[in-house]
């Protein structure tokens, strides 16, 4: 019994010693943020860890909002150095950062991500417009009989929405409201579709709150199925059910081109080239934000930024493009590469 007790107390001592050791500075980069940027940032981090003398950065997938919250909590080794985001930082977040002492933030755009609406390879090719997407997925839509009033979404099949579409029940698998992909989809596809109705567009000026609610609220009668954050699961379900459509990032279409195909949106097919030159309408920029105060205290941040902004990384032939990231045009790449080199902080709007 005595032996056990001494053993246990020795172990407890060891743990507490270790804990004290941990209080001192961190020697690896800590990155948090968007699950959309995660597959790209991790590749860079891994390469960085293998090719330099620095430790491999750790990357947590917390979502864009969660990442910025952690990032803005303060300066010091216990706070992350970089946060990934699938949208630009909001002015409220920027202010929160400033109030917590995170005064200088470097914004880096890394490329674009297309959001695709896809269905199974065996299903008929869908040629959608953003207006179709709005009418099929919004909670309230303009009365099909005409007039300027909104009624609960009556459409049951795609043919009801647009007579050129197949007579197929509307089933769309997509991300839940916590996802950045969902935010971008409602903004880029549904809101743009809603704007084609003159009276809704006019509402933006008169009643902005109502306008947002109309454009951004997804129907809840079972036609839109929240399929969780796991895009692989959506791909598998689409493969099983040819009548369903799914919404996810382009990289999943790219990796699963033998099982699913992307629907045309406004007459443009979601291909690498079409997203890269901006023709495909539903695409968004991806970012990461760097805490300038940590550069120099946490080893390797400047080198990581340099590795990320190398042409071999984010250029058109870089390894990130192989993972499905759509590179920025050359001028934009040059601009951000320069920002990184000079460590120019952004300004809060």
């Amino acid at each position: 019994m005595k032996k056990v007790l001494t053993l246990l107390s020795a172990a407890a001592l060891l743990i507490s010693l270790n804990a004290i050791d941990a209080m001192s500075a961190r020697d690896y980069i800590s990155i948090v943020g968007s699950s959309t940027v995660y597959p790209f940032a991790t590749v860079v981090a891994e390469q960085f860890g293998k090719t330099t003398k620095f430790k491999t950065p750790t990357i947590e997938s917390t979502g864009s909002g969660g990442g910025l919250k952690l990032f803005c909590a303060g300066v010091g080794a216990e706070h992350p150095d970089i946060t990934n985001a699938s949208r630009a930082i909001k002015s409220s977040e920027c202010k929160a950062c400033f109030e917590n002492g995170v005064k200088e933030i470097i914004e880096v755009k890394i490329g674009y991500d297309g959001i695709v609406v896809a269905n199974a390879k065996s299903a008929p090719m869908m040629k959608l417009t953003r207006k179709d997407l709005f009418l099929a997925l919004a909670k309230d839509v303009p009365d099909p009989k005409g007039g300027e009033n909104l009624i609960p979404n009556p459409y049951q099949t795609w043919k009801d929405v647009n007579s050129s579409l197949p007579n197929q029940k509307i089933t769309v698998l997509g991300p839940p409201p916590t996802s950045g992909t969902r935010d971008a989809f409602v903004e880029l596809a549904m809101e743009a579709g809603a704007k084609e109705f003159g009276f809704i567009k006019a509402m933006k000026k008169t009643d902005k709150k109502r306008y947002k609610a109309v454009c951004h609220t997804v129907r809840e009668d079972g036609a839109y199925v929240e399929a969780g954050e796991n895009d692989n699961l959506i791909v598998q379900k689409l493969d099983k059910d040819p009548t369903a459509l799914g919404i996810f990032g382009f990289s999943f279409l790219d990796q699963n081109a033998d099982k699913i195909k992307g629907a045309f949106v406004d007459g443009v097919e979601p291909t690498f080239d079409n997203i890269a030159d901006g023709q495909y309408p539903v695409s968004r920029p991806l970012f990461f934000y760097v805490k300038k105060a940590h550069i120099g205290t946490i080893p390797g941040i400047a080198e990581y930024l340099k590795a990320f902004s190398a042409e071999a990384t984010w250029g058109p032939d870089g390894y990130l493009s192989e993972k499905g990231l759509i590179p920025m045009p050359e001028a934009e790449r040059m601009k951000f590469a320069k920002d990184i080199q000079m460590l120019i902080p952004m300004e809060c709007k």
């Binding site: 270790n18 804990a19 430790k55 491999t56 750790t58 947590e60 216990e78 990796q255 033998d258 499905g324």
Partner: protein, 434 residues
């Protein structure tokens, strides 16, 4: 029965026959009910067995192929020119691999074609060359055959997860690449070998390089902390509450709270861990130390409840006999009751540990759901755990991660089954029946 039956007899007789009739009449129904109940029970067990079998079949069916990895044989030449005025660590090993690929297919030209040719081998090949050379400098100037891991797309093709019949645009591998792969196979330069890197590497974004070593070490450190904290604390709490504590309102409240704690959803412990250990004590994020602290909070109630039950099952006669021969209360507990109750306590602890091993939700809040490549070497190194690794791989777009997800699940299940079997064996061997 007589013609003139006695009134009393007849009434007794008819009464008796009536009871028997009622019993007889009901008998069939009661037997039926019993049979029905048995059938319900058997169906329930059969159903759960079917689901279990289904689970195992899908996981093993998906995952067994991940234990083998496709490799390509290259004739690597460590060109002395390359090492002339550079440190061996800084040499361009990627170029060495590319040269070796080109020497196999000398007639491939054009930037695009060369790129797709180089794409057949894993990016890990260059690191493999580097490690080989750093271990043995005498390789410089030699030409040696080396098996290097193939790219995950090649691996998927060889394992039959990619359909050659599809049109070229729908395949990750193009027609030219298929022709090269076929030629490699014909030359005996393509084979499947046991996937050592799956057990030796940390996480990676390249499926062919990704392994579970980092997650296993993370799970190990986390569980060590959990065990060291929760077992002694849990047993001490149980012994005090069961043997020494007065029975009053306070101990009642404590007991109710321990039982409530056992039913708290695990994510709540994660939130608590974030607030207390990270924000208040300033411990590092993603560390197994904090993970262990959080998980020990979670397993404590399980261990206390199991330990108390096992103390309670020690018969009072043992206690009375010990006290009767003059043992103090302390001696009675530590010399007689505790040793008898220990097997039951250990069983409870192992089951609590198995639950902690399979837990991922509370670790989300303290930053252990993260991409971590370096294998953790201590309690405060950033690390992740096995269930989290499974979750992260399940979410990765690359096709080859599907089989790796299942393979990692198989490893996790193997550990869980071993731990539960250990608990059963311990109970069978050491448990005393009174």
């Amino acid at each position: 029965m007589n013609k003139m039956p006695q009134p009393t007899e007849s009434s007794v007789g008819s009464c008796r026959s009536r009871t028997i009739d009622i019993v007889n009449r009901g008998l069939k129904r009661r037997y039926r009910a019993e049979r029905r109940f048995k059938i319900y029970g058997i169906t329930a067990i059969a159903l759960s067995l079917v689901f279990l079998a289904l689970l195992f079949i899908t996981i093993v069916g998906n995952g067994y192929s991940a234990f083998r990895q496709t490799e390509i044989k290259l004739d690597v030449y460590f060109d002395p020119m390359e090492f002339k005025d550079k440190l061996a660590a800084d040499a361009n090993y990627l170029a060495i691999v590319k040269d070796a690929m080109r020497s196999l297919f000398p007639d491939v030209s054009g930037r695009r074609d060369k790129r797709s040719l180089y794409g057949l081998v894993s990016t890990g090949a260059a690191f493999q060359m580097r490690n080989m050379l750093l271990k043995d400098r005498s390789l410089i100037g030699q030409r040696i055959p080396v098996w290097v891991p193939a790219d995950d797309d090649v691996d998927m093709l060889v394992k039959g997860h990619m359909d050659r019949g599809l049109p070229e645009s729908d395949r990750r591998l193009k027609d030219k690449q298929l022709a090269w792969i076929d030629q490699l196979a014909a030359d005996g330069r393509l084979h499947k070998a046991f996937n050592f890197s799956f057990f030796n590497n940390g996480d990676s974004r390249e499926p062919e390089l990704a392994g579970i070593r980092g997650a296993l070490m993370g799970s190990f450190y986390t569980l060590v902390v959990t065990l060291l904290l929760s077992f002694p604390t849990g047993v001490a709490a149980a012994v005090y509450l069961e043997e020494f504590a007065p029975k009053n309102r306070w101990t009642d409240i404590i007991e109710v709270n321990i039982n409530n704690l056992a039913a708290v959803p695990s994510i709540v412990f994660g939130l608590l861990g974030m607030a207390v250990f990270l924000n208040f004590f300033g411990l590092p994020r993603s560390a197994p130390l904090v993970g262990g602290l959080v998980l020990s909070l979670m397993t404590l109630p399980t261990i206390i409840i199991a330990s108390r039950a096992s103390l309670l099952s020690v018969p009072p006669s043992i206690r009375e006999a010990a006290l009767g021969v003059g043992a103090s209360k302390n001696q009675m507990v530590f010399h007689h009751v505790l040793p008898l109750a220990l097997p039951g306590m250990l069983t409870g602890t192992i089951i609590g540990m198995a639950r902690a091993l399979g837990e991922s939700a509370p670790l989300l809040m303290i930053g252990m759901v993260a991409f971590i490549v370096d294998i953790p070497g201590g309690l405060t190194d950033p690390s992740t755990v096995l269930p989290v690794q499974i979750f992260l791989w399940a979410d990765s777009p690359e096709r080859a991660f599907v089989e790796r997800t299942s393979a990692a699940t198989m490893v996790l299940l193997a550990f869980l089954i071993t731990m539960n079997a250990l608990a059963v064996v311990l109970r069978k061997r050491f448990e005393k029946r009174w």
